[in-house]
């Protein structure tokens, strides 16, 4: 299970990456994260919404209310052009961090 700080740090890139695939809503985003992380990452479900609102205010994502198939009204989010740029930036930064850790923690060279 990821610790609190690391979990918080993954929220923004994960949300943007999920929305880059297709538009989605809060519940579905959380389910997707749980599924992809094999339940290793668990977000406080209600706390996702202030983050989504913040991203919306920063114009990284756009929200639209729609009526779902079951008749329930849902707020769908989708990525903006600015959000795509932000996602690219975050991807580069996380890749750099990941590469570094891979090299540090990767298999030790055989000395024989």
């Amino acid at each position: 299970m990821l610790n609190k700080e690391l979990t918080a740090a993954t929220v923004k890139p994960a949300v943007l990456a999920i929305l880059a695939e297709r538009e989605s809503y809060g519940y579905e985003i959380i389910k997707k994260v749980q599924e992809l992380s094999d339940d290793e990452i668990k977000w406080a479900e209600g706390a996702l919404y202030p983050m989504l609102h913040r991203l919306e205010r920063q114009r990284l994502i756009k929200a639209v209310w729609k009526t779902a198939e079951n008749g329930r009204k849902r707020k769908y989010y989708r990525l903006n052009v600015k959000g795509k740029r932000e996602l690219d930036l975050l991807r580069d930064q996380w890749s750099a961090a990941s590469n570094l850790l891979d090299k540090l923690w990767g298999p030790k060279p055989c000395l024989n």
Binding site: Y27, E45, A47, Y49, P50, H53, R72, K75
Partner: protein, 238 residues
């Protein structure tokens, strides 16, 4: 017997009384709660248990307050103002009363601004003519000074958001008295702003002074009251 509508109503109430949640945000949380509830029911839980589990997953108002408060603080002052306005009107159940309060509050804010704006004029008049200060001198200052100060005062009031929802008869009476006084102040302010009548007379001078002095005093009193009502609200939620 479990009633979903009643349970939802009870769950929504603390959010509606909390000032950090827009109506849209509460609706969104509710949709999430219903999705979680449906999932728990399909997993085989009884209705009431499924609802409890869904609430546990999404969190109660007290669990989410800090996150939403942070988001609320980041908003522009106008967004915060609109949110606060909604929060205050939510305490009033009667729709007609709610509209009345909204009108009254917008109006009170405007008049409080004018009252504060009149202060420099009053100081100016008294300093120029200590015995006959209530007869407004026909100079450029009353109009220009009041107009400029109104802009600043309104900006300050909207940012500080001093008006709050007080509960109880005494406070309603207090607000109503203030509104009446404010009405007099508004009329007088507009009258002098546009006519700069040098023969205003002692009657209008007294009303003008009341608006100028009592307005800001009540405003400060309400700021104090806001702190108290915040405490009341948090106790009610707890």
């Amino acid at each position: 017997m479990f009633e979903l509508d009643n349970a939802l109503h009870s769950w929504r109430q603390p959010f509606q009384l909390g000032k950090y949640y827009s109506r849209s945000a509460i609706d969104e949380l509710e949709t999430h709660l219903l999705d979680a509830y449906s999932e728990e029911v399909s997993n085989g839980l009884a209705d009431s248990e499924a609802f409890k589990e869904a609430v546990r997953r999404i969190g109660r108002e007290s669990d989410l307050r800090d996150e939403f408060r942070r988001e609320w603080r980041d908003k522009y002052w106008l967004g915060r103002y609109v949110n606060r306005f909604r929060w205050e009107t939510n305490w009033i159940q009667n729709p007609a009363g709610r509209i009345g309060f909204m009108v009254l509050r917008t109006y009170s804010l405007l008049v409080a601004g004018l009252g504060v704006a009149g202060l420099p004029d009053l100081v100016y008049f008294v300093s120029k003519s200590p015995t006959n200060w209530y007869i407004m001198p026909d100079t450029w200052f009353p109009f220009f000074g009041r107009t400029m100060m109104t802009v600043f005062a309104l900006a300050a009031i909207f940012n500080l958001m001093p008006f709050t929802q007080w509960r109880g008869f005494r406070n309603e009476l207090f607000r109503l008295s203030y509104a009446q006084l404010a009405l007099c102040g508004l009329i007088i302010n507009i009258y002098f702003a546009f006519t700069a009548d040098p023969n205003g007379g002692i009657g209008t001078g007294i009303v003008f002074t009341s608006a100028v002095i009592v307005g800001p005093v009540l405003w400060m009193a309400q700021m104090y009251g806001r702190r108290r009502s915040k405490l009341d609200a948090s106790l009610a939620i707890a």
